[in-house]
Symmetry: C2
Subunit: 165 residues, 2 copies
DNA sequence: CTCATGTAGTTTCCGTGACAACTACAAGAG
DNA sequence: CTCTTGTAGTTGTCACGGAAACTACATGAG
């Protein structure tokens, strides 16, 4: 029953799981305490903000934030209702929309990032050395890309964070 | 208020997020293809199995698998209905239950692990060097433990001013 | 013993996301 | 053109999990 996964790797994988859940939970908690929206909103806003032209098609956005297209439609509905983004019809393609941020959306991003960053600094930066960070980045980026090759079928979870600017 | 997070750490955090989502998705896919239950079931079964005496209280189990108590009640209901676990009343405490595995539960675990392990080997072990694995384990385990200190709501955190106890 | 308070687990209600069916438009073949 | 097939996005349905109210039992003060 001990299917061979080397101990160091098994330990590393467990660490990934617990760091992920602990940090995401911490970020969500801090955002909620600051009366800010959940991390999912940040992911979407940030994905739009960093896209070329600061606009992005729904399907591409869904891929960016690793959510289903149907799920994104509803998430975007909420964001639009909150006034932080807009859907603009695409001239050349009558089926599609560009998602763009409103000024309120940009502002929201600027309010969320410091909270996110504070958690990262206090829990992640403080606990991980620069060398470890390099190793984590290198190893896990490779693993993620290998794992993504083989999405026999899909499913998803959360995505990336970064600094707005 | 440009909350700065060092680049290596930011990159590492992004890598954690994408590796987590890609690998979890891959495992879920493979489990589904093998007509096996989702990862959440594995987590529960495995947590029970590795507990001292191979039994564990509901609340402790909830903490182990990072799920709310209410959520665990329902998950355990499904598992129990599937015949893979049982709730045994605790003699000394009329409120509580021990969760224990049935033989079918042990068998389920033995069928699930090879699938899980296969994905880990093909996506994680193959992409991550032993040294990187060590660094990932060390760094992320530390980060997780630091992060876990804080997601709990502001309790009597008398960190300031007064003398402790 | 009795009462107040705390704890274990369950239940109710609600928000969210996956999946598949569906609508509208696009694009290439003939 | 027109037909077929493919793609973008939305909608309906469903399963799952969180939060808080709730029940039953435990425990310590008096």
């Amino acid at each position: 029953m001990t299917a061979r996964v080397p101990d160091p790797h098994l330990g590393a994988w467990r660490a990934v799981l617990s760091a992920h859940s602990a940090l995401v939970a911490a970020v969500e908690t801090e955002l909620a305490e600051a009366s800010l929206p959940p991390l999912a909103w940040y992911d979407v806003l940030w994905a739009v903000r960093r896209s070329p032209g600061k606009r992005i098609r729904m399907a591409d956005l869904a891929a960016e934030v690793t959510i289903s297209r149907g799920g994104l439609t509803k998430l975007a509905d909420r964001l639009e209702k909150a006034g932080v983004l807009l859907r603009e019809a695409v001239e050349e393609d009558g089926r599609g929309f560009y998602v763009v941020l409103t000024p309120a959306g940009e502002a929201m991003l600027r309010r969320m990032w410091p909270v996110y960053a504070r958690v990262l600094r206090s829990s992640f930066v403080s606990a991980v050395s620069a060398e470890e960070a390099e190793a984590i980045d290198a190893g896990l980026t490779r693993a993620a890309s290998v794992a993504q090759q083989r999405p026999a079928r899909r499913k998803a979870s959360r995505s990336v964070g970064g600094s707005p600017r």
